[in-house]
């Protein structure tokens, strides 16, 4: 017995001396974690997309039938359109407003750290909570926006924020922008702070106006960070679910249904797990495209590369 235990100990010690084995061991926890919580659900989702599984009934493999059905499904294509519209408009607005906010917060302001903390608030509040707040703000009768505009005499009757297709789209985009700005603004602010102030001073001595300083010094130096931040922002927006689900549930008449909400609606309340999974899988090409886009956009520019004499 003692010999085997010594042998075991020896082989274990030998394992610790082996760099490859040691490396694998260190990666094991993370690997298991990824396997259980990422690969398995993803794989299951892809598999379900090829079956006609319903809730409470195991399905059989039906090949691409789900996708063929979706291809002829006008609601699906409407959700694709909505998702692209939602993502592009919200991302552009988030970028513009976030950059603007970051530039302001980067100036010498009184109570600067206070304002920086305030800016983060929308991001800290749970999405569902802020969605509920927006639900009240966009209420057809008790909306504070309608009320204020009526008090100001600008409109006669409350705006039907969530009842009209285009109003509803604008409303959910506004809510998403409000929620997404802090991430963009604070990340870009962090990027701005890595730009040495002496560069700005040098540029102003070189005769640059403040616009030229932004255009020729700040913006080019910020592009790598903009690329990272906007990739994440696009991914978050594209896969958004909570805001829509609380505010409109995809209505009115599917006008605000995104692919994520449609997938959920078909799969869980609708019970068609296979079809829901197929819709979710259909998001993957879009997400991959945006990741690839940023991957190539993110490749280090020549000026960032290290100095080899």
């Amino acid at each position: 017995m003692s010999t085997t235990s010594i042998m075991k100990r020896r082989s274990f010690a030998g394992l610790l001396q082996n760099n490859t084995a040691l490396g694998v061991m260190f990666m094991l926890p993370a690997g298991v974690f990824l396997l259980c919580f990422l690969t398995y659900p993803l794989g299951l989702g892809v598999w379900l997309g090829f079956t006609d599984t319903r809730i409470g009934r195991d399905g059989v493999f039906i090949g691409l039938e789900n996708y063929r059905l979706l291809f002829d499904d006008s609601v699906f294509w409407l959700s694709v359109f909505n998702t692209i519209l939602y993502t592009s408009v919200a991302s552009v607005l988030k970028f513009g407003l976030g950059l603007w906010l970051a530039l302001i917060l980067n100036e010498k302001l009184p109570l600067k750290s206070f304002f920086r903390a305030i800016v983060l608030l929308p991001w800290v509040v749970p999405t569902v909570l802020s969605a509920l707040a927006f639900w009240w703000i966009f209420d057809s009768q008790f909306s504070i926006l309608s009320w204020s505009l009526i008090q100001l005499g600008l409109i006669d009757q409350p705006i039907n924020f969530l009842g009209d297709s285009n109003n509803a789209r604008a409303s959910v985009i506004a809510a998403n922008v409000w929620r997404g700005i802090p991430f963009v603004a604070i990340s870009l602010l962090a990027g701005l702070q890595t730009i040495s102030p002496s560069l700005q001073e040098a540029a102003s001595l070189d005769g640059a106006t403040s616009w030229q300083r932004f255009r020729y010094v700040t913006l080019p130096m910020l592009t790598p960070i903009i690329a990272v931040v906007m990739t994440f922002s696009v991914l978050f927006t594209f896969t958004d679910f909570q805001l829509i689900y609380v505010l409109t549930k995809g209505g009115p008449v599917n006008a605000t249904h995104l692919m994520a909400t449609l997938s959920f609606q078909r799969g869980i309340p609708g019970g068609q797990l296979g079809e829901g999974a197929a819709i979710a899988v259909a998001m993957i090409p879009f997400l991959l495209a945006s990741i690839l886009f940023s991957f190539f956009g993110l490749q280090r520019r020549k000026w960032q590369q290290g100095g080899s004499e």
């Binding site: 102003s204 001595l205 070189d206 030229q212 020729y216 080019p220 000026w303």
Partner: protein, 353 residues
Amino acid sequence: MASVDFINVRKSFGTHAVIKGVNVEITDGEFVILVGPSGCGKSTLLRMLAGLENISAGEIRIGDKIVNGLAPKERDIAMVFQNYALYPHMTVADNMAFSLKLKGANKTAIETLVKPAAEILGLSHLLERYPRQLSGGQRQRVAMGRAIVRNPQVFLFDEPLSNLDAKLRVAMRAEIKELHQRLNTTTVYVTHDQIEAMTMADKIVVMNDGRVEQIGSPLDLYDRPANLFVAGFIGSPAMNMIKGRLDAADPHRFITEGGTVLPVVAAVEAAQGRDLIYGLRPESMRLDGAGLPVKVGVVEPTGAETQMIAKLGGSDLVCVFHERVSVRPGEIVNVSINAQATHLFDAESGVRL
């Protein structure tokens, strides 16, 4: 090119005064160095001249123009920053051409200005590189090139050599001086290194605690420091300062606190009977068998010269000899003092007598 005048310039951040009334006249084409310990306000003064800091009171003129209210870009000055402040996303050529591009110069005009400037600085083969790909000395030269291309009225340098290693610093020192001799543009240069100041300047402005202590040529400051601060700041190793009084009977004898007698050439009447400080440069002593007996502490040969730290009374006396000496620690040797090169200061006010 232009002259620069600081007229009773003041600067405070809130209630904290940083520049407390500075008057400096810089004539056209002069190379002036602002020198002082860190925190003395020299960099702030330079930044005020550049327009990067507001002027709280007083007046700064470039040429005949009062520039207090002018934006940096309207002052026609170029500045070399301590960290070079090169635009990392532009090539060397673009860095140098940036100011010209902003002015709307066309390609050929830019080329005719950038090329010769690059040539002067030995940057011609680096024009397509990015700042990251350059060594410290090359970056320094690009920063200078960016300034030269502008052909400004005044060059400003803010501790430009402090990020370089010692050897490169000596080389760049010579290069900057040569550049000034070639272009003859008024230059204001800030450093905390008194050797840089002594070797490069036409005129040195010694600053301390927001005030000007003395203005003069390098050798002026060395030979006739106006007060104890300048005496201690200029010269390396620093001047020996020995407390004592003049002999009541003979004003040519200075008696230290320890009772040692030191020679004085011609003391001022007013010095009699006051607490004084006897300033003795390490280089003004010789080891020739006669004179003051001191006890050798440490001997540091550097090849070109030998530094000896000896005990005189209770205090250290630093001596520098230009010849090689063979003395041993603990030995008693005689050093003779060149009385012509000694200084007397009032102990209370620090002013030269």
